[in-house]
Symmetry: C2
C-alpha cells in the first residue's frame, strides 16, 4: 500500500448544496456554546445542569463493573435487544408502580439518555411544520431535538405553579387555525421544571389530563428530576391520570450518573413498536454494559439510599442559594422556590437584559444562562436567568450569588 | 398521594392519526426479528453478525474500569463534549494515519455505535424522496436508518470484486431523471462487504473516486471490518483518495466489543459542525464512561494485540467454513472468499428460494439470513444467503454447514 503524503492540504468542498433542508433548522445548543466560555476553573458556574461530581457513587459502580464483567461479561459486552436489558426494564416498571402507573416491563424502552427519547419523539410524531405546544420557558434540549424535525412551537405561559394549563385550549385552536393540523403533542415538565424550578399542582395536572383527552392530543411528560424532591410530597404523575395518551420520560443522569447515558420511555404497548423501530434505525440499542451496571446497582438496592444522600446534599445547596439571594440581591429581583431538582429561575429589574449582563457577570467570574435561551420563539426571558444549584459547593454558591448581587447593584446604580 | 388501582385496564388509543408520515416507511429489522426465532440454544446460527463472545477482552476491560473510575471517575461519569473524549479522538486520528488519511482529532466524532453514524448521515443529507446509491446487496442497518428519512435507493450490482463502479454514472443519470435531484451520496462497504464478503480492488476505488469527483457526489465509506484482515494487504481507503468528499465510518464493535456502543465518523472539518449539531439533538454525547474505557485500552496498547488474536481466531473459522462448504455442499452452489470480516455470501441453485428454504434449515437447527433481505428494493438475492463465521466455534461451523448441505441435497432431489 502506498502511503500518501499526510501533510497535503485537503481541498475544501462546499457542502451546502448537498445538505438536507432540515439542517437549516439545526443550531448548536446555546448553553453548550456558553459552557465553553465558562470552562475557566476560576469561574463559579451556575450555568450548566451538571450533577455534583463529588457524589457520583464511584465505589458502587466499580463493584458493579467487577460483578458484571465476571458473572455476565460475555452478555454485557455483546449486542443486545433494542428494547433494553430485561431485568432493568422490570426494575423500572416496578419503580414506576410507586407512582401508581400500571406499567409493565413491555411498556419500558431504554434510551441513550433522555435526550434520545426526545429525538425519538420527534421522529415518531413530528412532520415538518407541525406544532408542539410547550410552556415558555421550556427545556432547551427538547427544542434542539425537534428543530431537526422542522417543528414549530406554540407556547403557553408559565407562572410560579408551572404551565398555565387554562391557556391550552386557546393554543390548540390557534395551532389548528395556523397550520390546519392539530399539534403533535403537549410537552410538559411537571416536577421542578427546567429552567423554571416550578412544580405543577395536582389540580393543574387533572385539568391538563382533561383537556388533552377532550382535544385528543398526546402528552409528553418529561420527568428527569422527579426523584430529587427536597420538601413536600410527591404529586401523581400525568401518566397515572391518562396512561393511554402519555409518553413518560425518565433518566438515570440525575440520580446515578450522566456518563452512562441511560434514560427511558414509558408508553402504551400499542405505541412501543414505533419507538423500537425508530431506535433500531438510530443506534440498534442502548449500551449493554451501561445497562448491566445500572441494573446491578438497582437490584442490590443501592440506588435508593444514594438518591436519599443526593437529596440531602442538593437541599442544602438549594437552601444556601435561596438564603444568599435574599441576603445579597437588590430590591426588584425575585426567584422561584423549587421543591426539588437542580435549578431556580431568577428575575431581575426590567432595565437589565440578562444576555448583556452576562458579560458583567463573567467579569466577576460568575456564569448563568440568560433566560431568553429557554424561549422557543425567543419572545421572553430578557430579564430572567436560570441558576443551577447542584454543581457548586455551598461556599461557592454564597460567593457566586454575592458577586452577582454586587454586579446587579452596580448595573442599577 | 392517592395510589390508583394498578390492576385497571389502560384504555387503548388509536395512535395512527398522531404519527408522523415518516413512520409509514419504518420497519423492524428483518434480521432482528429472525434472530428471535433462532434464539433456541440448539440452533447453530450463521444468521447474526455477532463477534465471538469467548474472545471479549474482559480482563483488560475490568482493568480499564478500575483505572478509569479511580483516576478519572468524576470526569468519566459526567456529561461530556458532543464531539467525543479528546484523547480517544486523538488516538483514532493517529490510527487513521496508518491508512494515509490526513485526519486530525477535529475530524473525528464519536458515535453511539456505527449505526448512529448512519442515522446522522440520514439526518444531515437526506430529504424525503432523495435517492441514495448503494450496491445490491448492501448492509441492512443502513437501509433501516435511511428509511426513517424517506430515502429511496438506486442500486448498482456487486460482483466478486464488490461494487461494479462502472454502473455508477448510469445510476446517477437515472436518479437525476427520476427525481430531478442528484443522489444524496454513494454508500460503499469497501472491505469484506456485509453481506457480500467482497473487497473492492484499488482500481475500482480509484475509479469510484474519479466518478464521485466528476459528478460532485459525497461518498460514505462504511468500514466496520477493515482491521479484520486474514490475508492479502490493506488497500487504500477511499477517504485517502478523496478526503474532501468522503465520510468514513469506523467502529469498536467488531474489534473491542459491541456492548460499549462506540463508533466514529471521520469527515472534513467543514462538515463536522453539521454532524455535531445533529448529534447534540439526538443524545447530547456518546457514553463518557465507555469512551474512557476504550481510550484506556487503546492508550495502553492492548487493542492491537487483541485484534491480532481475533484475526487468528476468525481466520480459522473462515477457513473451516470454506472447507466445509467445499466438502458438504452440492454442485451448483458457489460462495465468496472473504479476505477478512465476518461474513460470506453463498449462492444456491436457482430452484431453491432461500426464504422458503429457511424453514428446512430451521428443522435441521441451522439458521442464516436469506439473501433478499439485503436488497433495498427486494429485487434480488432469492437464491443466496449470508453466512456468518465469527460467532460459532469451528466444530459447530462444520456441523452446521454439513446439515445445510444435507438439507440442500434433499431439496434438490
Amino acid at each position: 500500500m502506498n502511503r500518501p503524503d499526510l501533510n497535503r492540504d485537503i481541498p475544501v468542498l462546499d457542502w451546502t448544496p448537498h445538505l438536507a433542508e432540515r439542517t437549516s433548522h439545526m443550531r448548536s445548543s446555546a448553553i453548550r456554546e456558553l459552557l465553553k466560555v465558562t470552562q475557566d476553573p476560576e469561574v463559579i458556574s451556575f450555568a450548566g445542569g451538571l450533577p455534583a461530581p463529588d457524589f457520583f457513587p464511584l465505589r458502587d459502580i466499580e463493584e458493579a463493573c467487577k460483578f458484571v464483567l465476571r458473572e455476565e461479561g460475555a452478555q454485557a459486552m455483546q449486542y443486545s435487544a433494542t428494547e433494553g436489558y430485561p431485568p432493568l426494564k422490570e426494575y423500572l416498571a416496578n419503580t414506576m408502580h410507586k407512582y401508581g402507573v400500571p406499567s409493565k416491563a413491555h411498556n419500558v424502552l431504554l434510551t441513550n439518555g433522555s435526550q434520545q427519547a426526545l429525538d425519538l419523539l420527534g421522529k415518531v410524531f413530528i412532520n415538518p411544520g407541525d406544532y408542539v405546544i410547550t410552556g415558555s420557558p421550556t427545556y432547551l434540549g427538547a427544542i434542539q431535538a425537534w428543530n431537526a424535525y422542522q417543528a414549530r412551537y406554540h407556547t403557553v405561559n408559565l407562572d410560579d405553579d408551572g404551565m398555565v394549563v387554562d391557556e391550552l385550549e386557546g393554543a390548540y385552536e390557534k395551532v389548528v387555525k395556523e397550520s390546519g393540523n392539530p399539534p403533535s403533542f403537549i410537552y410538559v415538565l411537571p416536577n421542578f421544571h427546567n429552567p423554571g424550578g416550578t412544580t405543577l399542582p395536582l389540580e393543574r395536572r387533572e385539568k391538563l389530563a382533561e383537556i388533552a383527552t377532550k382535544l385528543d392530543i398526546p402528552v409528553v411528560e418529561d420527568d428527569p428530576y422527579g426523584q430529587l424532591r427536597y420538601e413536600g410530597e410527591d404529586i401523581l404523575p400525568i401518566c397515572t391520570l391518562i396512561p393511554e395518551r402519555t409518553i413518560y420520560l425518565g433518566t438515570f443522569s440525575k440520580t446515578l450518573t450522566p456518563g452512562l447515558r441511560l434514560g427511558w420511555i414509558v408508553c402504551p404497548e400499542s405505541l412501543m413498536l414505533r419507538f423500537v423501530q425508530a431506535k433500531q434505525g438510530c443506534d440498534l440499542h442502548t449500551g449493554t454494559f451501561a445497562q448491566h451496571i445500572a441494573s446491578d446497582i438497582c437490584q442490590r438496592g443501592l440506588l435508593k439510599p444514594h438518591i436519599k444522600q443526593l437529596c440531602a446534599v442538593y437541599k442544602e445547596r438549594r437552601d444556601t442559594m435561596l438564603d444568599a439571594l435574599a441576603e445579597f440581591w437588590p430590591d426588584g429581583c425575585s426567584w422561584t422556590h423549587p421543591e426539588g431538582g437542580l435549578f431556580l429561575w431568577a428575575r431581575v429589574p426590567e432595565s437589565i437584559d440578562t444576555t448583556i449582563f452576562f458579560q458583567d457577570a463573567l467579569k466577576e467570574k460568575v456564569a448563568y444562562v440568560p433566560g431568553v435561551n429557554f424561549y422557543p420563539n425567543a419572545d421572553g426571558g430578557r430579564n430572567a436567568m436560570r441558576l443551577n444549584f447542584s454543581y457548586s459547593t455551598p461556599e461557592l454558591i454564597v460567593e457566586g450569588i454575592r458577586r452577582l448581587g454586587m454586579a446587579l447593584k452596580n448595573k442599577l446604580d
